[in-house]
């Protein structure tokens, strides 16, 4: 599903965001990507959704080899992914349902199929009653639910979540996390970047930890990296 092989990512000034990172996330898996701010978590996610490309090494996502794929393939790759951010990234001048429908419209989905699909995912995230609300009228947790509904509406193979609970209070955090677990239970792989260790410790999901761009711990690896004690 997602395969990183000896990935390096350097920035123009020479700083290394990732150093020789290797891991693999399988279909249907739930994995946390942890580490302090600046550890490289967001860089890993950007490499997955082809917003950045490896300086060396190989990133393969759902059959796409990101370094060599044509620019025209990037939208095709992203349609197989759902992406959720800490700051929600919703269009504030559109209602919740319009924000979700937008993700279908850009893929040229049949118009007749859009409304039922949108209502299905809004129901799934528990926001059917607020379909016509604009983002500023919703709480942070509700906005993140809209963002998750938008990520889900194209039936992605994997959901990438970059600090999805970073802006939320504890109650909303629990709700969003439970929602991500439910989504995973329904068969969608989830790769969630977070530095909330309390959240990580609540479950036995796989943990991939980065420190200053280097992978220092992977609970799912079958080599020495799995031996490291969780911090």
């Amino acid at each position: 599903m997602i395969r990183f092989a000896n990935v390096f990512r350097a920035y123009p000034r020479g700083s290394l965001a990732l150093k020789d990172v290797t891991f693999h996330v399988a279909k249907g898996e739930f994995a946390f990507l942890t580490g302090h701010s600046g550890a490289g978590k967001s860089t890993v996610l950007r490499l997955v959704y082809a917003d950045e490309f490896p300086t060396a090494g190989e990133v393969r996502v759902s059959g796409f080899h990101t370094s060599t794929m044509a620019s025209g393939d990037i939208p095709r790759l992203r349609r197989r992914l759902g992406i959720v951010f800490q700051d929600f990234r919703l269009l504030e001048d559109r209602t919740a349902e319009e924000n979700v429908a937008f993700a279908l419209e850009v893929t040229s989905a049949r118009r007749a199929a859009i409304a039922p699909k949108v209502m299905r995912v809004l129901t799934q995230v528990g926001l059917a009653a607020k379909a016509t609300a604009y983002p500023p009228e919703l709480s942070g947790g509700e906005q993140q639910r809209v963002a998750i509904a938008r990520a889900l509406v194209n039936d992605p193979l994997v959901l990438l979540a970059d600090e999805p609970t970073g802006n939320l209070d504890e109650r909303a955090t629990r709700g969003i996390f439970q929602l991500l677990r439910d989504i995973n239970a329904a068969g969608t792989a989830v790769l969630m970047a977070t530095h909330d260790l309390d959240l990580v410790r609540q479950t036995s999901y796989r943990v991939i930890e980065l420190q200053q761009g280097t992978l220092v711990y992977d609970s799912g690896a079958d080599d020495g990296l799995a031996e490291r004690v969780m911090p």
Partner: protein, 287 residues
């Protein structure tokens, strides 16, 4: 209604102030260009009206038979530069002088004999009214044995020629400068709109929109703003024209085809400016 059209129209509703600002800016940029066009158009008309009066007069030697002059007229009329040639007899010349110069009425009445010679008045086609052509025709006319004198106001025509050349060069330079300024202003205005929606573009791309899909509503929106700006510019020009026409002097306004051209120019500029702005926005190189 396709998504492209819906999105393009929706942007006017979502950002009414910015859209109105863009259209107004485009309208004023094209208005200034249009004003210059009106000045150039009216100057050209004025010059053409003056050139209408370019005429060569061939004075005949005394005693030249009318038949000879009439035969020569046929020859002269077959010159490619000549529009018309008219024979003016001595009597007609005197009658005209009496009519057109009433202050010399007394002089003409006391005359024992008519001192005015017969002449051939030759008018040239519009394309041949420059000093070069007038000189060439005059030179050919000198070949007629009965030609006593040939007058065509050489200095006057040369000055007119220079004035026309200067007007053309200045018009081209100033017009190009105005056009360039319009392009820059319109480009910047449209770019502001695209930048304002950069978040939307980023989200569209994140959810898997192709660059073509992202680009299309912006192109349509740019073209619409350009067209509306063009219509606004024509309205402003019409108002300026009516003011001048009523208060100062008879002026000429654009033809329907020229109005269409202004609107098409606005549309094209809006489209191009959008294309460049979105292209810059989408064209981040792989790093």
């Amino acid at each position: 209604m396709t998504l492209t059209v819906r999105e393009a129209l929706a942007s006017f509703r979502r950002t009414p102030l910015l859209s109105a600002l863009s259209v107004t800016t485009i309208a004023f940029a094209l208005f200034v260009l249009g004003l210059f066009g009106l000045v150039a158009l009216n100057l050209r008309e004025a010059l053409a009206a003056i050139q209408e009066r370019v005429e060569i007069v061939l004075y005949l030697r005394r005693g030249t038979p009318v038949e000879t002059a009439t035969l020569a007229l046929g020859d002269i009329e077959s010159f490619p530069e000549v529009e018309s040639a008219v024979y003016v007899s001595e009597d007609e010349a005197l009658a005209r002088a009496r009519r057109e110069l009433p202050e010399f009425q007394g002089v003409f009445t006391d005359l024992q004999a008519n001192p005015l010679p017969a002449s051939l008045e030759i008018r040239l086609k519009p394309a041949f009214r420059s000093s070069t052509h007038v000189n060439a025709v005059a030179e050919r006319l000198r070949g007629f044995r009965f030609a006593e004198d040939i007058r065509f106001g050489r200095d006057w025509i040369e000055k007119l020629d220079r004035l026309r050349d200067v007007a053309a060069v200045v018009g081209l330079a100033v017009g190009a400068a105005f056009a360039l300024a319009s392009v820059i202003i319109i480009g910047t205005t449209i770019r502001m709109g695209v930048l304002h929606r950069s978040r939307e573009i980023a989200i569209m791309r994140l959810v898997g929109a192709t660059d073509g899909f992202v680009r299309r509503p912006f192109l349509l929106e740019g073209a619409l703003k350009g067209a509306l700006g063009g219509i606004g510019a024509v309205a402003l020009n019409q108002a300026a024209f009516l003011t001048v026409d009523r208060l100062l002097f008879d002026a000429t306004f654009f033809t329907l085809a020229q109005i269409g051209l202004i609107i098409a120019f606005g549309t094209m500029l809006g489209l191009l400016a959008s294309a460049v702005s979105v292209r810059r926005h989408l064209g981040r190189p792989r790093s």
